[in-house]
Amino acid sequence: MEITINGKKVEYSGPPWMANLMEFLGISSPPVVVERNLHIVPLRELEREPVEDGDSIEIVHLVGGG
């Protein structure tokens, strides 16, 4: 399926769960935050959160700022 992650189109064929997607992307959860279609996905629910074709997903983290 094709999903949009942080604004980039990505082809993903792994298991359709957010936790798997994160693994696929090589992102060890904290301190990241995942938004799926503008809704925040609590980290503890990444296993139960599906990933579907056309999803728009944002993965953000804290960085230096003023």
Partner: protein, 256 residues
């Protein structure tokens, strides 16, 4: 005697808030934070870079030592600011937020109307809101009435290092405010930070001037001392400036 900064019922020894942007290395950030004595440090949100997901200066900031204060930088209206605040909370931060709404990416000046709107929403959602604002006394009062925990008027445009170009308005804000006034933006040297404290500000936030200094660690210490100097002078009771001169020595009689 004890002289704590109290924000939202929480006490802090240090009156220097420090930003974590623009540091060249994690090591410099870590040491500068240590030297500054800061207890509240601002952070921002950004997309993870998919090709290099693990980098994060932030590992330099131990959340047990510092209260992380995420900002909403990049938000152009209330809606975006609220979204960022929620994301920050989901990132595991305490519900404290430095509210920034800056529609114009060039001057990065805050939008008074959107800032008030976002503040009202976030206060209702239980956030401790510290809004970054123009030095506007009436707006400051309205934000206080809306329940913000402090107000953060600017001294001069972000990163400009010009110091207190808004001094007159800051004096009015400090005179009128019932919540802590934290001067943010434009403080380019310890003398600027000291001046803000001498006016009666409760605290200051500094980032660029420390991060881009030749020696950021030494500069962090310098700002720490500047803030302490200004605060202690404010408490010790500064005399008024006057136009006329006044001898500090007795005029020596025997020459006459």
């Amino acid at each position: 005697m004890n002289d704590s900064l109290i924000i939202a019922g929480r006490a802090f020894r240090s009156r220097l808030l420090m930003g974590t942007g623009k540091f060249a290395t994690r090591r410099l950030l870590e040491e500068a934070l240590e030297a500054s004595g800061a207890q509240i440090v601002t952070v921002a949100l950004r997309r993870v870079e998919l090709d290099n997901p693990q980098d994060s200066l932030l590992s330099a900031v131990d959340p047990r030592k510092y209260l992380l204060l995420p900002n909403t930088s990049g938000a152009r209206d209330a809606k975006e600011a609220v979204r960022l605040a929620r994301v920050a909370r989901a990132a595991g931060c305490e519900p404290w937020i430095k509210l920034e709404v800056t529609p114009d990416p060039h001057h990065l000046l805050p939008d008074p109307v959107e800032t008030l709107l976002a503040a009202e929403i976030l206060v209702k959602e239980g956030f401790v809101v510290l809004p970054y604002i123009n030095a506007d006394p009436v707006l400051a009062k309205r934000l206080e009435d809306a329940g913000t925990a402090a107000v953060m008027p600017l001294g001069s445009p972000i990163g400009s290092k010009q110091g207190l170009r808004t001094r007159d308005a800051l004096e009015i804000i400090i005179e009128k405010s019932g919540v802590p006034v934290v001067v943010d933006a434009g403080l380019g040297a310890p003398s600027h930070a000291a001046e803000a404290m001498e006016l009666g500000a409760e605290a200051v936030l500094v980032n660029t001037a420390i991060a881009v200094a030749g020696d950021p660690v030494a500069m962090a210490l310098a700002f720490r001392k500047g803030v302490e100097a200004g605060r202690e002078a404010f408490r010790a009771g500064l005399g008024q400036a006057q136009k006329k001169a006044e001898a500090s020595s007795p005029l020596t009689g025997f020459l006459r």
